[in-house]
Symmetry: D2
Subunit: 144 residues, 4 copies
């Protein structure tokens, strides 16, 4: 029933992201919510590093319309996590990222998810716009 975990080779762009004490919950592992904070940060850092997103000035922004996560194995503070990113769907005004969290030194993902952005005008968030050109270029290089 549970899909086999992906591997580092399935992903295209990586970022080291340490855990915080508060990520652990009462069962002693990272709470399921925090995985999304890592996904969120991974996408934002990808966009920032490729000049797609300017937090103050961007007039077009990605609106999150869908996210999901499958949890293969526990992550635990003080793990150093490596986040992996790839692009699984590139539409006219939307993009879906495939995301993974790897424990330090492990090749098999502890968690994998997806994250879909629809691009809209920042000032009128119901109006979709084409994906920014810089994003399309960067994303094409990361397609699975």
């Amino acid at each position: 029933m549970r899909t086999a975990p992906g591997r580092r080779g399935d992903y295209r762009w990586f970022l080291a992201m340490p855990t915080r004490w508060m990520d652990n919950d009462i069962y002693g592992h990272m709470n399921n919510v925090h995985h999304y904070s890592f996904f969120d940060t991974l996408v934002a850092r990808f966009l920032l590093s490729h000049g797609v997103l300017d937090l103050a000035a961007s007039e077009e922004v990605g609106l999150v319309v869908e996210t999901g996560c499958r949890y293969h194995a526990p992550l635990t503070f003080p793990d150093e996590i490596t986040g992996g990113l790839r692009v699984t769907r590139l539409g006219e005004s939307s993009i879906t990222y495939g995301l993974a969290l790897f424990r330090s030194g492990e090749d098999s993902a502890a968690a994998e998810g997806h994250f879909t952005h629809v691009y809209v005008k920042r000032s009128a968030q119901k109006q979709t716009v084409p994906l920014p050109a810089a994003l399309r270029t960067a994303a094409e290089a990361l397609q699975a």
Copy 2:
């Protein structure tokens, strides 16, 4: 492409959950991560209120294996959110909840998601166990 939002009538068990200032992000709406904190709390409160979960004593606990969320409309601090819960799949040792977040006074869900628990021994989390009887009884009453 985006599914039509569910309505209150599609859900079976409800809980009022206020937002916190910190839930809003730089775009002035609740960040996509926090929706999962509401889902997480909704499931835990459902379990506690039906005597299924005892945080200190339960020897069998639900391990989260998959979650997901579709974002239909923004939620924003200081919204009072009503969480809705139903059971969409009841297996031998796993259960999937359907979850929704409604803005105060609105019948159409601002966000909807799912959340799958597999029951395991707390002391040996790789060993699945049958769903606790009290959970099965409570869950059957909430099936969609």
Copy 3:
């Protein structure tokens, strides 16, 4: 060495705030960080309810310059917390709130803190401004 906890009668304005599952940490109690999320929300809801803060439109905003908390007793999900607020110092452009978190049904605070805002122009956050008149009026009624 530890100060005696304050009581409900020491505070002037109250707000019910439920805990979330994620607030508990590995020791089974609310992590020390989350207390500040309750304080933060308590101040914001006080300001919103008195018409002092408009998240989108306010041209003058409170910049947080100091916070603190003393932890008298554990708080634990699923506690319903009552937050208490009073004003302990009212300056020309700054205001300090005294804050408390009470467990449901208890008169003695589980945690108490302070929170100091300096008012600045939203567009130029180094320029202090006098406290908004509506805030001064509301605050004078809550002085300890």
Copy 4:
């Protein structure tokens, strides 16, 4: 009224800690609550790296009795933060850490705080115990 910020030379032990997207609030800077998550992590990582804390096995744990923070300058995702730690008070069963958050490349602290642990039996948290010997040794080397 506001104290002059400390410098890197005032602290004894350092840790790099990146920000997360979610740390920013509606005003575009790190929300005042998250500073405590950095403090919390800094202390835990200090304890783990000196063999004082074993998350699963430690029979004596530090109970947080007081924390505080002064905010000198904004921190903003995607800042890389360097946390600094020193010991400002070493008692029989309690220890107070002085903590600072520095922006990458800056010598002056963006925020400074304190954090007091009282050591107790994990199983009976009202019973204080002497500071663990390994902690006392490590702490003496970090006294300001």
